[in-house]
Symmetry: C2
């Protein structure tokens, strides 16, 4: 770039460009799309957790007026060409799951047949008329006993083993543990809970037999991954599949890739003469859309006399359910790798075991490796109590600070540009930690149980492999000087349109009102990795910079030529070019574009016509590290077991913010999800594998009543990525549940309560208090 | 380009990629688009040719169930922000026509009110209930008496003058004419006839009040011109307007720019809460969509003793109707400039006068300057008869050949790379001219009247100013190696998708089945000028070459790096890279793309990630000259006046053909239109200005029965444009009608018939024979 760009927009609270349509009800979610002659889908799902399909009788269902077709697993599986996603590891097709159950059902909600009818009412009625005869089998409901069960979820996976991984041999660390002044252990079980987007899953598939083209409207975080998956599934060319996503009402990892129902609808569409729509209802969603977080671990740390961490070890076990849709191994391996966290730990290892069960499949969920923070931070509070050191003091003796960077963790993670100690101290200072401890003492004297908990984490974001390490943009400055910016998108509420408009306006030097962005249509935009791995902000900034620089240079050259000044003297700000020192002579971007497209004789030599460019950013970094500290205080009613959050503070370092309002929204949203996981949400099954939380009366989400104001502080350390930005999408959901758990445990510590199972529902808290021998009563 | 590309596709008869959808009825024309809640439009039109609007009573119409709104001229005109197209000259907004008539109606069919209703049936019923009281005024029906009429079509244009232009002073040429051995004059009147696309006009406008965005589906030759026009009309940013065109069933110049009805629907849509569709019916089309060709001229040429042309002069008068929608002056001026045509003429001049009348407005029509050929070629046949020289021999003494190029015409036209003499001789040889003359003699002896006529023309094509002189393309090689090519499009049946796929496959070196093109959506493609001025083939070839070269270089670099060979040794053909001499080791484009997007560590230094590029071609030439000779033989039944075409031959030089099948289709289609103009088609009015040809029972189109096989010959002289291609879209419609007229005149010459008015309908031929004093009877 010849002249230094003024950057008036990045870093400011630009109003969301998405909001006018969303706040006036003019958003376009999948269910808002209607196509001529469109048909509707309802799935027939298994009512039992495990069983052999003896017979499927479609006679009555097919006889119902308005029913177009019914497909079973044996109809669709032969149509499958290939199940594969483009990302090695994360989306590896280790599991070639059938779109619909073939000879065995494996969880309650397993799709068995797909009914197509003229409307949803008929489709639902017909689904009830499908008679499936099952031969019930004993289900494997509890993943913790799955390895020793005589029953197998998948016959080809003995011991229900879904994968194993280990760090360095535990024996290596034995001398450290044996010789340490203190060894602290902590076991914690996390329950299954779910990404809970406001918009459930949904997909419209429209097959054109004459052109061999498939068009899809769907709710996804990655339109291009969906396109690739569909092209491979059907065995057709990638460019014959068009995936369109206008608005997506939340994804949180559940929508990174098409699931079995999506595949079934795509396949069925190729046998139909008009488009077909499937909209998941909430009960289906709660049964079948995928759970996360269900795992447990035995964490151990060795400390020296002064409380300095000598070694850390995590033995970790996960439930992957019946049909995990993305490879859980990748995310799970990160749990072990990150377990030492933002602390100075000399040696570490981990072990990992994954088991199948006859429950809904595991999916990705905002910070899928979140258990590393849970296991570590709960253990540190336990250690503090065991060693008789204040938990803040214990952390201070071990935590890494900005001046320690770069540093490599004992599991080989190359931390850089991160500030754990700084966010930790900022959060404590916002709270006034010492004052809280005094208040706590006073409260206890009154028989009130208040507590404080923290969680500090480091998170790899933004282009970290194995996520997509490139992102592309096309920018077209149109003939009137208005700008269209094309990026892949896949925003599921993360304000990517606003972000792109801000970044582009600054990268080009144009007025923000001149910029419009087009996203979410694979036929229109360059390939992009979608939303995932907290990558959107940083990768998009890279893509836009890469593309805009070409155009800015051309704008300056045309302006210099027209204004008769050297290029170095041209200032181009808010769509207006002037010569430095002569502000009265100016040339608008509209005039520059008019030259570039129509009055091309006015172009300087060597400058091509038009103002269009396509570029692709390639992340040069292995990963960009974001970090934050969550700090929370609570009061526990030992009579009812109810937890009330008093204050909630997050201090984060996501580098320079593109838009503080968007960053705040991301942190707040993720934090609320973590609070839900710590206290309320649970995707539960009875002993027979029947789901017992299939409505919002049973599956409890936190509401505005339960969540306090979330106070935010920021430490700003630029990364070496574009603009210094770091990812901020997932962190809120990582740091919050451990902080809440620690606060509850701290509140109840005088009663001798030890927390080892989540969620901390009122009944569980009462049980814990009773198990510890008392309480108020 | 590092290695020389093999070009397996350009020049071959690749099957049209448009055909599978079009031939199976799966094309998407405007009327195939349905939007949720869409409303329908019917226009109330003037039943009189000229009158004052005294009152419009909407009471009964608005009371009809299902009527949403009715707009009059005074409702819509205040909403007009600006009427302007981007092309100076051609689309100059010299005429700020109101969308609907304001206080005066100016032709039968003039739109007076726009009714919006829940369906077309209700809209039509309501339109009949609108009561308009008119005060009739005397119309100006005949443009030839318009300059002396006491009545004015537009009060601000005295003498009904719509423009005048003149070449060098006629006095300059007087000495030549005065001193010439022979001076030949010819007056010829051409009737009004119309572009007649299979798909009538139509437009859906969908306004989003929440986003301030307008989406339009329309039948147009230039989606981007429509977008610009709409943005300016509504006073909104260009990028807030999206124009989508999938299939357009013909345009022929009538659809180069939005007309008044289109403007009215766009404006009305901003006051409605759902989309609104207008589909023109055929009667509306025949009354209101625009006529062309109505003009006459007095042509004179001076010859020396040997029949060599010494000077040429054309005095030319045009009817522009009430509301010409594009500036007729530009096309009309070309008539004068081109009048000397492909002959060696020492001196020339022209005069031009345009007049308004109370008939439908003039629009562009395939070769809008076609009258230059009509006036010249009919004169040359008359001259041949007058001088007693065979018309072929007369032409041979004057015609320019390839070896004369480059040469500048007496009116300053810089002819180059053209071969008039060569196509002329080729056409004669295909016919066997001498044999025909013998046959004619024999026929005459039997009382049969057969004749032969020719027309040779030169035509400026492909990037000739003032048409758009740039064209852009974006190419994305997707991660699986499949290619999407984005160009603006605006194909109205001219196979632009096929052309683009062929050009791209060759420019990149990929398999043609790997290439897909996306066109006709202004939100998706780069700005492009659309179809017009026979520019699509050549300009698109330029845009694709400009863009593909970047990607081909990158492909070769990646392949060289991966295969461990110098770039110069890489051969990349049909999507496969090999090392020269080692054909057994190959790398597919899919593997190369996989590296470019996903395995980026495999990229050589300096090669960016991705395989995407945007480029824009700028025509370096003032114009690219195409030329052709049409030759036709016919028999005239002097009893019925019927003309039967016997043989029809076209020899053209459009440079190297991109696809011979497409070229043939273009020539055939245009030729049939010219035959229609010479013999059948007429948009006629009675003395009161009532149109009398408002159905296909009255407006006679040539059908397969009337048209003989059209035999084609080609002379191939590359232009200096991209690939050497020249424009071929318009020529068929330019050369055909003069050839037919000359053939009829030649057949009837023994009877002393002189042709001066078209079309040569049976009744006119009978009249001519009778006026000449005889015939068979």
């Amino acid at each position: 770039m010849t002249s230094t760009a003024v950057r008036p927009y990045v870093g400011t609270r630009v109003s969301r460009v998405e909001d006018p349509r969303l706040l006036t009800g003019a958003g376009t979610y999948v269910d808002d799309v209607t196509r001529p002659g469109m048909m509707h889908v309802c799935f027939v799902r298994s009512p039992i957790a495990r069983g052999r399909i003896v017979d499927i009788d479609l006679t009555d269902a097919l006889a119902l007026d308005g029913v177009t077709a019914i497909f079973t697993g044996h109809d669709l599986s032969p149509l499958v060409h290939e199940v594969r996603y483009s990302l090695d590891g994360i989306f590896a097709a280790t599991h070639q799951w059938p779109p619909l159950a073939l000879d065995e059902v494996r969880f309650v909600g397993d799709p068995v047949a797909l009914v197509v009818a003229r409307d949803r009412y008929v489709a639902e009625d017909a689904a009830e008329l499908v008679v499936v005869e099952y031969d019930p089998l004993t289900p494997v409901v509890d993943y913790t006993t799955a390895p020793t069960s005589e029953h197998l979820v998948h016959a080809q996976h003995p011991g229900n083993n879904a994968g194993e991984l280990a760090g360095r041999p535990a024996a290596d660390l034995a001398p450290i543990f044996d010789g340490a002044a203190h060894v602290v252990s902590q076991t914690i079980y996390q329950q299954a809970y779910m990404p809970m987007p406001m918009e459930t899953r949904g997909l419209i598939a429209e097959w054109s037999a004459s052109s061999g083209e498939m068009q899809i409207w769907t709710s996804t975080q990655s339109p291009h991954e969906t396109r690739l998956a569909c092209a491979r599934l059907l065995g057709i060319d990638e460019h014959r599949v068009r995936v369109v996503v206008r608005d997506t009402g939340g994804g949180f990892g559940q929508k990174v890739a098409p699931q079995r129902e999506d595949m079934a609808v795509m396949l069925a569409a190729t046998k139909l003469t008009a488009s077909v729509k499937w909209i998941e209802d909430r009960q289906e969603h709660l049964m079948s859309a995928g759970m996360a977080r269900q795992e447990h671990g035995e964490a151990r740390m060795a400390f020296d006399e002064d409380g300095r961490i000598l070694a850390a070890e995590l033995m970790h076990v996960q439930n992957v359910g019946a049909y995990p849709i993305t490879s859980p191994m990748t995310a799970a391996s990160v749990v072990g790798m990150l377990f030492p966290g933002p602390y100075n730990v000399a040696a570490a290892t981990f072990g990992l075991k994954l088991y199948y069960s006859n429950t809904v499949g595991r999916v990705a969920y905002r910070g899928p490796w979140q258990f590393e923070s849970m296991a570590r931070e709960v253990l540190l509070d336990t250690a503090a109590r065991q060693l008789g050191i204040d938990p803040v003091e214990l952390r201070r003796r071990n935590i890494l600070s900005g001046s320690d960077m770069p540093v490599t963790s004992p599991n080989g993670m190359p931390y850089s540009d991160a500030t754990p100690a700084e966010t930790f101290e900022q959060a404590l200072s916002i709270l006034d930690y010492a004052a809280f401890r005094s208040e706590q003492e006073a409260a206890r004297a009154e028989g009130r149980y208040i507590g404080v908990g923290t969680c500090t984490y480091l998170e790899p974001t933004a282009g970290a492999a194995p996520f997509h390490v490139t992102e592309g943009a096309t920018i077209r400055i149109e003939p009137t000087g208005k700008v269209n910016v094309y990026v892949a998108g896949g925003s599921a509420g993360n304000s990517l349109e606003t972000t792109v408009v801000q970044l582009t306006a600054d990268a080009l030097g144009v007025d923000i009102d001149d910029v419009h962005t087009i996203q979410g249509d694979t036929a229109v935009t360059p390939f992009g990795g979608g939303t995932g791995g907290s990558r959107s902000g940083s990768m998009t900034a890279g893509a836009i910079n890469e593309t805009a620089v070409v155009l800015r240079e051309r704008i300056l050259a045309i302006a210099a030529h027209r204004l008769g000044a050297p290029v170095d003297d041209i200032e181009f700000i808010r769509s207006r070019a002037t010569v430095r020192g002569i502000p009265e002579v100016e040339l608008s971007l509209a005039e520059i574009a008019d030259i570039a497209y129509f009055k091309v004789d006015g172009l300087p030599a060597g400058v091509p016509a038009g103002l269009e460019a396509s570029g692709r950013y390639r992340s040069p970094l292995p990963m960009i590290w974001a970090n934050a500290t969550h700090l929370c205080t609570c009061e526990v009613d030992t009579g009812t077991g109810a937890v009330k959050l008093l204050r909630y503070i997050v201090s984060d370092d996501c580098g320079p913010m593109i838009n503080p309002s968007v960053v705040e929204g991301q942190i707040w949203g993720g934090t609320v999800q973590g609070i839900g996981g710590a206290l309320y949400e649970e995707s539960a099954y009875d002993e027979s594998g029947n789901p017992v939380t299939t409505t919002f009366m049973d599956y409890l989400l936190p509401t505005a009543t339960e969540v306090p104001v979330i106070e935010l502080g920021h430490v700003e350390t630029p990364s070496k990525g574009p603009g210094g930005h770091k990812g901020v999408g997932e962190g809120g959901a990582i740091g919050s549940s451990p902080a809440v758990v620690n606060a509850v445990a701290d509140a109840l510590a005088p009663l001798g309560v030890k927390v080892s199972r989540l969620p901390l529902s009122p009944s569980r808290i009462i049980d814990l208090i009773e198990a510890a021998g008392g309480g108020d009563k």
